[in-house]
């Protein structure tokens, strides 16, 4: 029998189906005791509407592999960060034309500084590789993605936000 972790790690994200939940850092833990499997997942954003789908996909996959007693738990702490996207996950994002996130900002201990100008991020174009790209909107098709445009090839592309 394949281990519960090995099964869970193959389950893909409902909104970024080229990535697994493990690639995204959403799959936190899989434990197995006396046939009872507990899977812990964490939302990227609190309003993430895909949590129920993830839960069902995990349960279906584990049932299919012979694990009948499966429980999926939500964990909120520590809060998800885009830094948890694995190297493999970043490669898959880029292959799909989605720019992977840079390192998440370090939270200062004092008040969080205001960013009045467009954030100074260097996000290379996933299509042509050019470095000169500009922000179109901080809010893209899902909460975790922003929209950018390449000044060289003019293509717009999505970028997984740093949080």
């Amino acid at each position: 029998m394949v281990s519960a972790w090995a099964v869970a790690r193959t389950v893909t994200d409902p909104e970024l189906p080229m990535l697994t939940l493990a690639d995204l850092g959403v799959l936190r833990e899989v434990s197995e005791q006396d046939g009872h499997v507990v899977v812990a997942i964490t939302p990227t954003y609190t309003g993430c509407p895909a949590m129920d789908t993830m839960r069902d996909d995990l349960v279906h996959a584990l049932h299919g592999a012979g694990y009948d007693d499966v429980e999926v738990r939500t964990v909120l702490r520590p809060a998800w960060t885009s830094d948890w996207i694995t190297g493999e996950g970043r490669r898959k994002l880029a292959d799909a034309g989605i720019a992977p996130p840079a390192a998440a900002p370090r939270r200062p201990t004092g008040p969080i500084p205001l960013t009045l100008g467009p954030p100074a991020r260097r996000v290379p174009c996933p299509h042509c590789g050019a470095g000169a790209t500009e922000l179109v909107s901080e809010f893209g098709p899902t909460a975790c993605r922003s929209l950018r445009r390449c000044r060289a090839c003019d293509e717009t592309f999505e970028h997984v936000k740093e949080i």
């Binding site: 609190t46 205001l114 909107s137």
Partner: protein, 299 residues
């Protein structure tokens, strides 16, 4: 594999994909778990030394702020000036709805009532909603939306950041996630305030009018309710940070901080006490009418 696309969609193994529903239990749920509980599987016991009823009321305050403003933001769908901004506003509304779900669920666990998020959202009368009045103000124009969002998210970010150290680990975890989200909301509003305030004479005029419009409701944000001082963050401590951020934005946007007096409550009672503006009744009518027409409905 399938004769047509509908068959593929209706793959019998995967019937749960159609709708998740509100009925209890179901696949992937242990007997004590509920599908509509966003805190499922978390330890929700109340920390020693904290009053569960107070903690519950406090979570309702923060949760209602998010729920009610989220509803107002949703009214912008199909009304925003550009598609990108419509998507941005919808995303902000979704973030706030997510925060509201966790906070209302936390409220129901903290006081031992096990009341669900839906029950709080759809079956409470107006005088039990504890949101600040700023969150419920009618939609207004885009200038006012930007002003409202700037004020609201600057205030909320300062509170959430302080709540990351809450003695309640659940509230602290919710706050830590919220900080990341609201940082983006505040930047969005601040950049629009600068673009409009420092734009044409006409855009400046509309942006200033928006700020003047919402300013009477700022005083309430920094009027502490006794429950906030007992189990939460006293907002008075966040005032300097709020003033500093607003001063930065106004300087860059060439806007003036309004000198208008704060809108008084009724005998000193305001949103946190369940005393709201006329707009709140209409908002709740829209938010709650379907659930109240079919109170026993499950799907």
């Amino acid at each position: 594999m399938f004769d047509n696309a509908y068959e593929a969609l209706a793959d019998a193994r995967d019937d749960s994909r159609w709708a998740f529903g509100t009925s209890p239990g179901g696949i992937g749920m242990s007997p004590g778990q509920r599908r509509d509980d966003p805190l499922s599987g978390m330890d929700t016991s109340v920390p020693a030394g904290m009053d569960g009823a107070d903690l519950s009321s406090y979570c309702l305050m923060l949760g209602d702020d998010a729920l009610v403003l989220s509803h107002r933001l949703q009214e912008w769908i199909t009304h925003a000036p550009e598609l990108e901004d419509e998507v941005a506003i919808a995303n902000i509304a979704l973030d706030l709805l997510g925060q509201a779900r966790l906070l209302l669920a936390r409220a129901g666990k903290a006081d031992g009532s096990d009341r669900s998020e839906d029950s709080y959202a759809f079956f409470r009368p107006e005088n039990e909603f504890r949101n600040v009045r700023l969150a419920e103000l009618p939609r207004g124009d885009f200038g006012r939306l930007v002003a409202l969002l700037l004020v609201f998210s600057t205030w909320r970010l300062a509170l959430l950041q302080r709540l990351c150290d809450s003695a309640d680990p659940v509230l602290a975890a919710i706050a830590a996630k919220g900080v990341k989200e609201v940082t983006y909301h505040r930047d969005y509003a601040a950049r629009w305030a600068v673009r409009l305030g420092d734009g044409t004479d006409y855009s400046h005029e509309r942006m200033q009018a928006g700020l003047d419009d919402v300013w009477p409701y700022v005083g309430e944000l920094f009027t502490p309710h006794e429950i906030e001082t007992r189990v939460g963050v006293n907002p008075v401590g966040a005032r300097a940070e709020f003033d500093d951020v607003l001063a930065q934005v106004c300087a860059a946007a060439h806007l003036s901080l309004p000198g208008v007096p704060a809108r008084a409550g009724v005998s000193g009672r305001m949103g946190r006490d369940g005393v709201h503006t006329e707009a709140m009744g209409f908002l709740l009518a829209e938010l709650q009418s379907v659930a109240r027409a079919y109170p026993e409905a499950t799907w």
